[in-house]
């Protein structure tokens, strides 16, 4: 009897407490429903460079520090951001020291130590591992642990911008205990670890169905006892951008949907339902058309788009590449497909302001059919009876592929019409986003394989420093069978001078000089026609009006602060 009274009193106390401070308790807000219309295929971002995998895994595994919505670094698993001023970065820029928070635990209850950080580095640089984020660890000589809560990174050369390894959603720390036997060639085989990594983040994977749905539970060992507010997360994948937008904005079935690449007028109709709102952040996303520098003739079979196929018969001509860019009216593409969520650009590095070049805006931003036609005439590409230019039997007719998305298909049609005006033909093709970005080495339709002459998609870089991003166009980053099609140099651009300049950038400490070099590299890519940048895209996501705490972030994972999200009471 006495016990019962006590129990009742306790219940009342607990209830009143819950009522007064709903936000300050873990797991009180039920289920958070997130919709990614490109389904997640793994929770290990080291095995997939896809944005969806990086974002999904950011709820589970964390880097030492990440970027907030303003592009500033915030400490996650460390006590502070090391700088030269506070002594964290050595004066000679050859090393840096991270001080780990002392009481962080993995979701399985074991302590998080410097050993895990060291292991993460070894995991990614292991030979035959096919690590998709190897660029993050470029220039790192050693990672050591002077004591269990200190990590010292030593660089090969002075590293003026050292925040790359273990910083941002692409470079999270994984648990040594779990992945110890998954290093190198064994990495892709460790299915249970790759699908359900033990992490330090606010959630843990409960059930993972590849390319379908992921359910996550709140991490009971999360370092902030009051977070996350949601007890579970359901991350559903698949569908298309428009239906995802509808599920959040119009029917309210989901709380959050990512990447709303939908025609602006369609979004406007959906917004009228008042169930959700759009959030936009301009980061570094650029919709671009990659021009294949290697021959993609289907007759070459498995050799196409690799070095063995040889240079592209017409796209290897700089005049053609320049003309293709000149013929495009970016304003029209922006108006038709992006509206407020995009602006025309000629840069592959469109932000932040300090590194955004304006050098090529004069010739490239405006459509100039006359100049494009003249360029092709002068280069000897003469119009045939069908209106298509040709030289020595090579016709300017291109297979133009992209992912299935109505905005992209509309852009394809617009570009095709623009190119038709300079006597260039295009054959349009699209592949389902889950195939195109799926990274399956067996599929011929992935963007990495690039079995097409030109292809269009968006990519971006995390953080504010473009050094590693610009390093993606290095000659040795060309994807091919030898690296499991994991290279990031999708256009197969190769210029020793560019490589040299990237090397110089990685050695330059002075910030202004760095910006100058980044601009130069960016200009080089545009001028030489490695690709045709089209639109600087804002990241547009939508969330339910009942969801609080979303701080749209273009510099890191959009789910970077999912621990702070809560349900509006």
């Amino acid at each position: 009897m006495k016990n019962l009274k006590l129990l009742l009193a306790g219940t009342v106390a607990a209830l009143s407490f819950a009522g007064s401070a709903a936000h300050a308790e873990r797991g009180t807000d039920g289920d958070l429903k997130i919709l990614f219309w490109q389904a997640v295929s793994t929770m290990n971002p080291y095995l997939s460079g896809g944005t969806k995998e990086v974002y999904a895994s950011s709820m589970v595994i964390e880097p030492l520090a990440r970027y907030n919505e303003k592009g500033e670094l915030v400490p996650m698993l460390v006590t502070e951001i090391p700088t030269v001023e506070n002594g964290g970065v050595a004066k000679d820029l050859l090393s840096m020291t991270w001080k780990l928070k002392p009481d962080v635990k993995w979701s399985d209850g074991t302590p998080f130590t410097a050993e895990d950080v060291i292991f993460t580095w070894k995991y990614c640089i292991a030979p035959d591992g096919g690590c998709a984020q190897a660029a993050q660890y470029e220039g790192v000589k050693t990672v050591e642990a002077p004591d269990p809560h200190t990590v010292k990174i030593t660089f090969d050369e002075p590293k003026p911008y050292p925040y790359s390894a273990f910083v941002g959603a692409q470079s999270p720390v994984i648990q040594k205990k779990q992945f110890e036997n998954c290093v190198g060639a064994k990495a892709p085989g460790c299915t249970s670890a790759n699908f359900g990594p033990v992490g330090t983040g606010p959630f843990v994977v409960k059930d993972f169905k590849p390319n379908d749905v992921i359910t996550l539970n709140a991490n009971t060992n999360y370092r902030d006892a009051a977070k996350p507010a949601f007890a579970t997360v359901t991350l559903k994948g698949g569908g298309d951008a428009a239906s995802a937008a509808r599920a959040v904005l119009e029917t309210g079935e989901y709380d959050y949907a990512w990447n709303m690449q939908v025609e602006p007028e369609v979004l406007a109709t959906m917004l009228k339902a008042g169930k959700g709102v759009l959030v936009t952040a301009f980061g570094t996303q650029v919709e671009r058309i990659n021009l294949n520098h290697y021959n993609a003739d289907p007759a070459l079979g498995d050799k196409r788009s690799t070095k063995e196929a040889g240079p592209h018969p017409s796209l290897s001509d700089p005049a053609v590449r320049r003309a293709l860019s000149l013929a495009i009216d970016r304003d029209i593409i922006d108006e038709a497909g992006y509206g407020e969520a995009g602006k025309p650009t000629c840069n592959i590095v469109p932000a932040p302001e300090a590194v955004a070049s304006t050098k090529n805006d004069s010739w490239c931003l405006k459509q100039d059919l006359e100049a494009a036609n003249k360029l092709l005439d002068d280069a000897g590409w003469a119009k045939g009876p069908d209106g298509i230019r040709a030289k020595n039997g090579v016709r300017l007719s291109y297979l133009y592929s992209t992912s299935t998305n109505s905005v992209r298909q509309a852009t394809q049609e617009l570009v095709k019409a623009m190119w038709a005006e300079i006597g260039v033909d295009a054959e349009l093709r699209n592949a389902s986003a889950s195939v195109f970005f799926g990274g399956d080495p067996a599929s011929p339709d992935t963007f990495q394989k690039f079995y097409a002459d030109v292809e269009m998609y968006t990519n971006n870089f995390d953080g504010t420093d473009p050094e590693k991003y610009l390093a993606e166009w290095l000659c040795d980053k060309v994807p091919g069978p030898e690296n499991g099609w994991q290279g990031q140099n999708i256009p197969r651009y190769c210029n020793p001078e560019y490589d040299k300049l990237v090397g110089e950038l990685s050695k330059t400490a002075d910030l202004d000089k760095r910006h100058e070099l980044a601009k130069q590299l960016n200009d080089m890519l545009t001028e030489e026609g490695a690709h045709i940048p089209l639109i600087h895209r804002g990241s547009v996501s939508s969330h339910s009006v009942t969801l609080e705490g979303v701080r749209m972030n273009a510099w890191d994972s959009e789910l970077w602060n999912v621990a702070d999200w809560s349900r509006k009471k």
Partner: protein, 308 residues
């Protein structure tokens, strides 16, 4: 339905011998009101699709971004899409492709189905293997098979015939070889029934060759079921092509077909409903009219109906 039609059909009294078989069939056909309505609609669609572009002289692929998302007007009777392309011109152009795919795929399926059906019905020894083959094809899931075939042969055909013809051949071929099974089964059943009749025995005993018996005596007698299969085949081929386009496969995205137009318009249902309405209506009307025509043709060719 059929019985009712037969019952209401005016009894034909003592047909004059001069009247040809075709006239008989036509008279029977006319008696089927649904069939006549179907024929009218189908002919109208055919005319619109093939003659229409000479009247409505707007290029289906002409982009005019200033006139995007317009509701129907005099200049654009079906409105425009989000790139300012004229929807009427697109529906007409799309109809040519969809109908061509439908009819060609149907012919292929019909040829295969009749061949397999007649062979297995007429020759006892072939019956088992051919019908098991039919069962095998029936058990194949169509859509996954299509996806695999498209992926495997796309590049080869594209290189040989160009993107549009290549994909046309591929789609027609794929739909054709995956939809002959029902025809084969029906034809086999009919052939079995016809084969056991006395006139076949008479033909055989007169020393007629097997292939002539098949061509002269068997085929005309199973024609009615073949014709019905044919009409149903057109409908299902159009729908399969629509499904492929709807999935973003099939023809290139700037190549309008009814299915593709429907797919592209789906997002704009609230904004410009006519983008979905017209292609959807065109598919439905074609399929419906062809089905009614099939129904009427079967009644018209039914020898029992002619006995009246």
């Amino acid at each position: 339905m059929t019985d009712a039609t037969i019952a209401t059909a005016p009894p034909v009294k003592a047909a004059t011998p001069a009247r040809s078989a075709f006239a008989d069939i036509w008279r029977q056909f006319r008696a089927h009101r649904g069939g006549v309505a179907g024929l009218v609609v189908f002919v109208f669609i055919l005319l619109a699709v093939y003659v229409g572009p000479y009247i409505h002289r707007v290029a289906p692929n002409a982009i005019n971004i200033r006139d995007k998302n317009q509701w129907p007007s005099l200049a654009h009777p079906f409105g425009t899409d989000n790139l300012g392309k004229d929807m009427l011109a697109q529906v007409l152009a799309g109809g040519r492709i969809s109908l061509a795919v439908g009819v060609t795929a149907m012919l292929l399926a019909l040829f295969l189905g009749t061949l397999v059906g007649v062979l297995s019905g007429y020759f006892r020894r072939l019956d088992g293997p051919l019908m098991r083959l039919t069962d095998l094809f029936l058990a194949l899931p169509l859509l996954p098979l299509l996806l695999v075939i498209l992926m495997l042969f796309r590049d080869t055909l594209r290189a040989t015939f160009g993107p549009e013809t290549g994909i046309f051949i591929l789609i027609v071929f794929v739909i054709g070889i995956t939809s002959w099974m029902h025809t084969a089964r029906i034809v086999r059943g009919d052939v079995l029934a016809v084969k056991s009749q006395e006139f076949i025995l008479a033909a055989k005993s007169s020393g007629m060759r097997e292939y002539r018996i098949i061509l002269k005596h068997i085929l005309p007698n199973v024609l009615s079921s073949i014709m019905v299969s044919a009409t149903l085949g057109i409908a299902s081929a159009i729908i399969t092509e629509s499904a492929l386009s709807f999935l973003g496969l099939g023809f290139p995205s700037d190549f309008p077909t009814w299915g593709r137009l429907l797919f592209d318009g789906a997002n704009f249902l609230q904004l410009t409903p006519s983008r979905v309405l017209w292609p959807g209506l065109a598919i439905s009307l074609t399929v419906l009219s062809v089905n009614y025509m099939g129904d009427a043709i079967r009644d018209a060719l039914d020898p029992r109906a002619l006995k009246h």
